[in-house]
């Protein structure tokens, strides 16, 4: 089950007025499929009684607005109003919406398909939207609010921000549909509100929603948000680490760390909770599964020595499980990323454990001559004592020939 998939099932259940648990089997489908299904279901509900909705909209023009408003509230009810709202003349619809009691408009909003009432939503004054948003927040109608975001003006969104608390903002973000728009909407939030939402993520156990948000905004925006998170106390960020570990969300977190500023990334790498060996091993496994080496290596370089050691050991363990072709691809990618700055640290770590060094040398022996040739400058650049220690082990393991030009580099011989 994905976060996005669960959100889509909740929305469909709301449309069909049935418990979400009943439709749990739909979480086996990709979220975009459930969304398409929901849109078709909404279309069918509007189409079935479409001719009658049109007639109601036509009849609504006849009485004075005050009477139509009275009838809307006391006879039509929120469901019929929601179905008809988008069919009314926008000016009339706005006038009615301004006269109706706010709790009734909130009822209506929860049932409205915003795709069919775009003009009305855009034409409502921001203060009216804020009144309804406040009511929907009290009712915890996060699904309804998330669906509206893509259809609201910036002024209306900013007015709504003024009445929605930080935790609710995060909960709503989970249901926002307009992915392209979400980035812009997050940009409208003042820095103190973003930091408030980050603190709320820990206080209210909303890190799954917060991490989901990071995957749905642009990489640059995600990096900025993560930089703001990095300004928070350890206990706030520990909540994020715990959630990523518990829910297996490192594949969402790792790419964000690469988008962070150097200071933010260093702060993140300094977190004690991140140095937990179980967390580090899960991070390496996530990088291996999703080819996130270019995200992992910059972070690994900033970890303290002990934590880096865990990362190097796990990378070796992962590499040892790969078929040769995949291993060579992974090694080539690592070399492309430029691992020169880390090679001495890696070698020192291997030299501390004879078992690790043996495993590492056997992996290098399997890389083949092309990749070994690329490793020559790195080997040649090692301090003499490390080269001698590694060479000693190469000879003991009888890998001299299989390491080809690398053996010469370790011996300090000039390249042929």
């Amino acid at each position: 089950m994905t976060l996005a998939g669960h959100a889509e099932v909740l929305k469909l259940a709301r449309l069909l007025e049935t418990p979400a648990e009943r439709l749990g089997y739909l979480e086996a489908l990709p979220p975009e499929d459930v969304r398409l299904l929901r849109e078709r279901a909404a279309d069918s509900l509007y189409a079935t009684d479409g001719h009658r909705f049109h007639r109601v909209a036509l009849a609504s023009r006849l009485p004075p607005v005050a009477l139509t408003t009275f009838i809307a509230e006391h006879a039509f009810g929120p469901l019929l109003c929601a179905r008809v709202a988008g069919l009314l003349d926008t000016r009339l619809a706005v006038e009615i919406a301004m006269r109706l009691p706010t709790p009734f408009v909130a009822d209506l909003a929860a049932l409205l398909d915003p795709r069919r009432a775009k003009d009305l939503i855009a034409a409502l004054p921001p203060h009216r939207i804020a009144e309804v948003a406040a009511e929907l927040t009290v009712r915890e109608e996060y699904i309804a609010m998330g669906r509206f975001v893509g259809f609201m003006t910036d002024a209306a969104i900013e007015a709504a921000f003024g009445v929605i608390d930080d935790a609710s903002l995060l909960r709503i973000s989970y249901f926002v549909e307009a992915k392209d728009h979400l980035d812009h909407v997050v940009g409208l939030l003042a820095e103190d509100r973003v930091r408030g939402a980050i603190r709320a993520a820990t206080a209210a156990d909303l890190w799954p929603q917060a991490l989901d948000l990071l995957t749905r905004v642009s990489p640059g925006r995600a990096g900025s948000l993560a930089d703001l998170a990095a300004l928070e106390d350890d206990d706030v960020l520990d909540g994020m680490v715990a959630t990523a570990q518990r829910d297996g969300l490192w594949d969402a977190v790792l790419p964000v760390t690469r988008q962070m500023s150097p200071a933010g990334r260093s702060r993140f790498a300094s977190l004690t909770s991140l140095h937990d060996p179980e967390a580090l091993r899960a991070i390496v496994r996530a990088a291996a599964a999703d080819d996130l080496w270019h995200d992992l290596l910059p972070l690994a370089g900033l970890l303290p020595r002990g934590a880096r050691g865990v990362v190097w050991s796990e990378i070796l363990a992962v590499a040892g499980e790969l078929p040769v072709g995949r291993l060579r691809t992974m090694a080539a990618e690592a070399l492309d990323l430029g691992v020169e700055a880390m090679i001495l640290d890696l070698v020192d770590h291997l030299l501390r454990s004879s078992g690790l060094l043996t495993r590492g040398l056997r992996l290098v022996a399997g890389l083949g001559p092309v990749l070994q040739e690329r490793l020559v400058p790195l080997a040649a650049g090692l301090p003499e004592d490390r080269r001698a220690a590694v060479l000693h082990r190469v000879r003991a393991l009888r890998l001299v020939r299989r390491l080809g030009p690398l053996t010469d580099a370790l011996a300090g011989s000039p390249p042929a």
Binding site: T18, R22, L23, V34, R40, S44, R55, L62
Partner: protein, 72 residues
């Protein structure tokens, strides 16, 4: 419950529908069709009730005009 939930869903929902929907077992598709049918039934019943009540609220000169529009 429909004997053929796939046909029932195709009849109720316009294309495009997600292709992977059809990979669900028949029992789940039948349940989805039931949920849709219930939602349609509830909506139509609510609409009937609303129209009935609306006519009661209208002053009599308007009532016959609105009745002609709403109930052709």
């Amino acid at each position: 419950m429909s004997a053929d939930p796939r046909a029932a869903l195709r009849a109720r929902l316009d294309e495009p529908l997600p292709e992977r929907l059809w990979s669900l077992p028949d029992a789940e598709l039948a349940d989805l069709d039931d949920a849709l049918t219930d939602a349609h039934r509830r909506q139509s019943a609510a609409l009937d009730r609303s129209i009935d009540q609306t006519l009661r609220f209208l002053p009599w000169p308007l009532r016959s005009i609105v009745r002609r529009i709403l109930l052709p």
